[in-house]
Amino acid sequence: MTASLVLQERLLAADIGSGRFRDLGVHVGLHGPLPTTGASTLITQVQASGLTGRGGAAFPMARKLTAVAAGAAPVVVANGAEGEPASSKDRILLSYAPHLVLDGLQLACRATGASVAYVYVHEGPLVAQMQALVTVRASTGVDAVPVTVASAPARFLSGQDSAVVARLNGGPALPTAVPPPVYLRGVGRRPTLVQNVETLAHLALLARHGASWFRSQGTDSEPGTMLCTVGGAVGAPGVLEVPIGLVLGEVIERAGAPAAGVGALLVGGYHGAWLPPGGALDLPLSVEGLRPLGATPGAGVVIALPAGACGLVETARAVSYLAEQSARQCGPCLNGLPAMAQTLSRLAGRDRSRGLEERLAALTATVERRGACHHPDGTVRLVRSALRVFAGEVAAHRGGVCTATDLRPVLPVPTSRVGA
């Protein structure tokens, strides 16, 4: 059975770490040329495959394609601006299998009738790398639709779809008020498909191998594989490709034997949720499998908290980061997130003032569903899950005691000093 491990990998197939798949010829040698499938067949294939967005929201791709294709002169954006500090799967994919993404981008253009395409990434080395690849593909005639490489500062919300559109329209990469959604009115006021780069890479393989091949992994309701970034108390932290629905214990196992005792798991990143130690290891990594615990796989971040770490200290640091990453456009987020971060930090710091938990509960209720984007709601989800899963630790801290034995930071938080 161990031999199947290698076969389960699709996007990260073969010796991808060598970097040789950045070469177009090597890419075509492994995967074959860009398929010539027509628009309606492509949409039918995507529909039959059950492919969903891999950027975090898991929205059915066929529905987005259909909606955008129905509009006039649409635009397609390959979104590689993963803002999540704990996620590196989009960067890894663009670095080691970029032609799968660029193939998928062309296929999405064909499916929707778009003649304008973008690759959107964070500022940094990827911009030049992608530009070089796009130039090669244009000069060899692989790409029917010309591709523009665009970038935004590496902030948490830069990849949110309305922020992507705002940036491509010449403004700052900040979320804008909905409605209308970007698939109706986006770049240049045209219907715009903003699709995560991993989703497009799956499309590139799906168009080559068909829907039943695609469905041969994953679950009936959530077919296929997904990339996840596994960190924390594991032997080999990094990006893995796993079938959707694999139990979390196995995901952790595949990232190397746990380095020490594993405590709680953070699933879905900083807009995700903590899961309690023990039982969580038997849960499937899927929307359906995590729903009963109020969690989702999101963009595939799984972090194993070492048993000796303090979940409150970790969450307080992540929430302070999220507060700093607020776009500072909406009052409840601008005021509420710093207040949540500050209260949580006091709790983490064993401040014994009365009413801190009540204050946190009131703040989460005040902030929830009161913003132009999901930043407040995602932050609320993380805070609530921490109060639930680390209830024992909260009680200890209220008594002036932290039970942790190792306070080395686990959750990665960039030290940014970028203002509003």
Binding site: P175, T176, A177, Q329, C330, G331, P332, C333, N335, G336, T366, R369, R370, G371, A372
Partner: protein
């Protein structure tokens, strides 16, 4: 008959507080002065009050919309 509810454009809103003053039946204020909206559909007798609040917002951040929405 179409049911209406009040919605806020959170980016436009800067918490002037007129809406809460004009339409306290459905709009409260949080501790920072931003509106807390009751999302339930408006009964017919409340619609004129809601329209007055919408019209008074200096930031044009308030609107009436069909159905129940965030």
């Amino acid at each position: 008959m179409m049911s209406l509810s009040v919605a806020v454009d959170w980016i436009a809103c800067d918490g002037r507080g007129l809406c809460a003053e004009l339409f306290p039946e459905r709009i409260g204020m949080d501790e920072w002065g931003y509106p807390v909206i009751d999302r339930d559909p408006l009964s017919a007798d409340l619609v004129p009050h809601a329209r007055r609040a919408v019209a008074a917002c200096p930031k044009l951040a308030l609107r009436l919309q069909a159905g129940r929405h965030p």
